[in-house]
Amino acid sequence: MKKFLLKTVLITCLFVGLLTSGLVGISVWVKRNHFENQHTEGNLLVIKPDHHYDLAFMGISHARMFSRYANHPKVEAILGKDILNLGRGGGSCGVNEQLFYLQYAYSQGVKIDTLVYVVSPVLMYAGFLNRATDTFNSEPFEFGFLWQYLRFPAENKQVRIWSYMRSKFGPHWVRTAPDTKEVMTDSLTGLDSLVVQQGFKDSYKDGFNDTIFQYNAQQMEATIALAEQHNTAVIFFFPPALFGQWPGHAETLAYFQKLGKPCYDFSEVIKEPRLYYDNHHLNSEGVMLFTEGYLRAVLGR
């Protein structure tokens, strides 16, 4: 019996040890590159412990676009602020995991003056974003992060954790290097209503489900409460889209206005196709114009 138990424990330890060494080793290898917000979708690669940020963006791809394609330093320069972007695009992160990122950032001693939550109505109606399993695939392996997440209530947690750990052994992660794209110049010439309709169909695949909305609302309120605990002011804004308002816009806006925090609706403010690279994402020129023309007035120097 002793021999059996000893061998079982030994092989388990050996496996866990080898796995952990691999996870940590590969992550250290990737982290040897110096990443800034504009270089990566991974938040753990850019959060500086005990750092004081003037501003943090949260949300889905509409928040992330302020950093992608080298937009980040330019937006920082326009607003005159030190910014952390916690937004996650690619349909891989919902309100709940956004809340977790914020919680993790605070646990690292990060201080944030203002939290800017970029509200896309789809964020509130999508259950699939909270179920996405590849949420952390762009993050390096860190014990502290994993330990905190293990204690964090979430849907699909087990699969998400496996995906997180497993992704560290994939060729994609091993080859991760700073994204050096300088600018996004793609632009549209007009609105393609067929593409928009298909996009709505994909984005609202969970329908307009009140239970999902209420759950996301609960997590949103938990986000506000967490921010306030850390003396962070919270601002919401609806980003511009070439088609203007998303389905469910009125209900979402009404909800956010009731929260008693500053809430700005910019969904209709930019209608020039050349400033978008798709129907709801601004290209670099669009981001700069929007930041200068609208965000600066709200968050200005």
Binding site: M1, K3, I11, F15, L18, L19, Q158, M165, R166
Partner: protein, 479 residues
């Protein structure tokens, strides 16, 4: 509780410690612990059906005692019938009530009569087909005087509810398993280590092969109209490996787990996809069910002893019953019917017992003729699986028609290369061990410790890297 869940891992460790370190002094205490653990394991899924499990066991325990006491043959037969009615009645109600009511209404509606009969919202208790069959086999064996009835209620409850095989088999016989509950168990190092290997291999087949195949299969079978012939064919092949990985994986985990507790369960799968004809396939697939039907239905019906028509009738009965056992849907009956059609020509020409030995026994290489036979058998079986997996008979025919008519030679819409590689790996490992009880019975590595440990670590790594950890249920839980 699912084998592929973290709860089971914790449960197993606690059960092992309690079993060997706390309750190890008294056999009765150990058996009582097994009953408690098994009821907890089952109740984790739905505690409301624990009563059903207990009732089924209690009836047959008393039937066993009654059969021993009564001498009069008619009264003994009556008692056995009572047991069969009770067990099959439970099974019939929970599994088949709605099916019969719906089919009954449908049949009358074809005649223009519209009946207003209510179906019930019945939940199918997990594993009911398995434990009722196990319980029935005890009553029949006592009736036939193949076994002495037990007077130890706890041992009998443990026999029926033994958690490793409770919800999806192997369907054990009292002649094999019950005596193991009535004799002192000692920890056997060789048995336990081999059990661990079997559990590991079972997890590989379930989490890596079956669950990954499932995501493709669900997509292809769920959207039959969207895919070309080649992709539909691939879907059927992947389902063949899904159901094999799922069910034989479950059996491996069950048998391996039982070994950790000092029990030997029967082999349930013997590399069925290496069969050279359908008769051999049925000697290697779900052995515990096939032999159950053979011993308790086929042989009592006269087996293959009578004339041609009797042989044909008995074969149809067995295969149709086997199909129906899998579920209350015409698709399963069609699947059974198809296998009867495959089997009967072999039986009538006396070729159903030609391939008794292990393919290419003693050789690493297989003859080209055997390769062709294996491939042909696999194709026949895969064709049958289409009925098994389809939502309805119509769906199955649409699917089959799609394979041949929807641009069968066009490029595949889906080509899961890494999954196909993993299936290849599984087949290679099982080919090497095809004369062993399970795919990882690596006796040839007995003296090569480093290599052996590298193999364990390698398989664990494959599970980690390619496993699907979505807590997918085992297919056979539904049967």
């Amino acid at each position: 509780m699912l084998f592929n869940s973290p709860e089971f891992l914790i449960f197993l460790v606690l059960a092992f410690v309690l079993y060997w370190f706390v309750f190890n002094r008294h056999l009765k205490a150990q058996n009582a612990l097994i009953v408690a653990l098994s009821y907890l394991f089952y109740g984790w899924w739905d505690w409301r059906f624990l009563g059903l499990l207990f009732a089924s066991s209690f009836v047959d325990y008393n039937v066993g005692l009654g059969l021993a006491r009564i001498v009069n043959p008619s009264r003994r037969k009556l008692l056995l019938v009572a047991s069969l009615v009770a067990n099959l009645g439970l099974l019939g109600f929970f599994k088949y009530y709605n099916f019969f009511v719906t089919e009954f209404i449908d049949a009358f509606s074809h005649l223009g009569v519209h009946l207003d009969v209510n179906t019930l919202n019945i939940i199918l208790p997990v594993g009911i087909s398995f434990y009722t069959f196990q319980s029935i086999s005890y009553a029949i064996d006592v009736y036939r005087r193949n076994i002495e009835p037990t007077r130890d209620l706890v041992a009998f409850l443990a026999y029926v509810s033994f958690f490793p095989q409770l919800v999806a088999g192997p369907i054990e016989r009292a002649t094999n398993l019950l005596p193991q509950f009535t004799s002192k168990r000692h920890f056997d190092y060789a048995l336990a280590t081999d059990g661990m290997r079997q559990v590991l291999w079972g997890f590989f087949k379930k989490i890596v092969i079956a669950d990954n195949c499932a995501s493709y299969v669900n997509d292809i079978f769920g959207n039959t109209a969207d895919y070309n012939g080649g992709t539909l064919f691939l879907g059927a092949v992947l389902f063949a490996f899904q159901i094999y990985g799922d069910f034989s994986g479950y059996s491996d985990i069950a048998i391996g787990t039982a070994r950790l507790f000092g029990f030997s369960l029967m082999q349930n799968f013997a590399y069925p996809y290496f069969s050279r004809d359908v008769a051999e396939f049925w000697r290697r697939w779900h052995i515990s069910l096939s032999t159950w039907f053979r011993d308790y239905v086929y042989i009592p019906l006269g087996g293959s002893k009578g004339g041609t028509w009797m042989k044909i009738r008995n074969t149809f009965v067995i295969f149709l019953l086997s199909g129906f056992w899998h579920g209350a849907n015409l698709t399963f009956i069609a699947w059974g019917f198809l296998h009867a059609l495959y089997f009967i020509p072999l039986q009538l020409t006396g070729k159903n017992r030609v391939n008794i030995n292990i393919v290419a026994h003693g050789n690493q290489w297989v003859s080209p003729m055997d390769v062709l036979r294996i491939l042909f058998t696999f194709l026949l079986v895969t064709f049958g699986w289409i009925f098994f997996r389809a939502k309805s008979i119509t769906h199955a025919f649409e699917y089959i028609l799609g394979i041949f008519t929807k641009a069968p030679l066009e490029a595949l819409a889906i080509f899961p290369i890494s999954l196909l590689g993993l299936i290849g790996f599984m087949l290679a490992v099982e080919w090497v061990h095809r004369d062993k009880q399970h795919g990882l019975e690596i006796t040839w590595l007995q003296d090569k410790k480093v290599l052996r440990w590298c193999m364990y670590l390698g398989i664990m790594l494959l599970i980690f890297l390619f496993g699907n950890f979505g807590k997918t249920e085992f297919i056979y839980f539904a049967f």
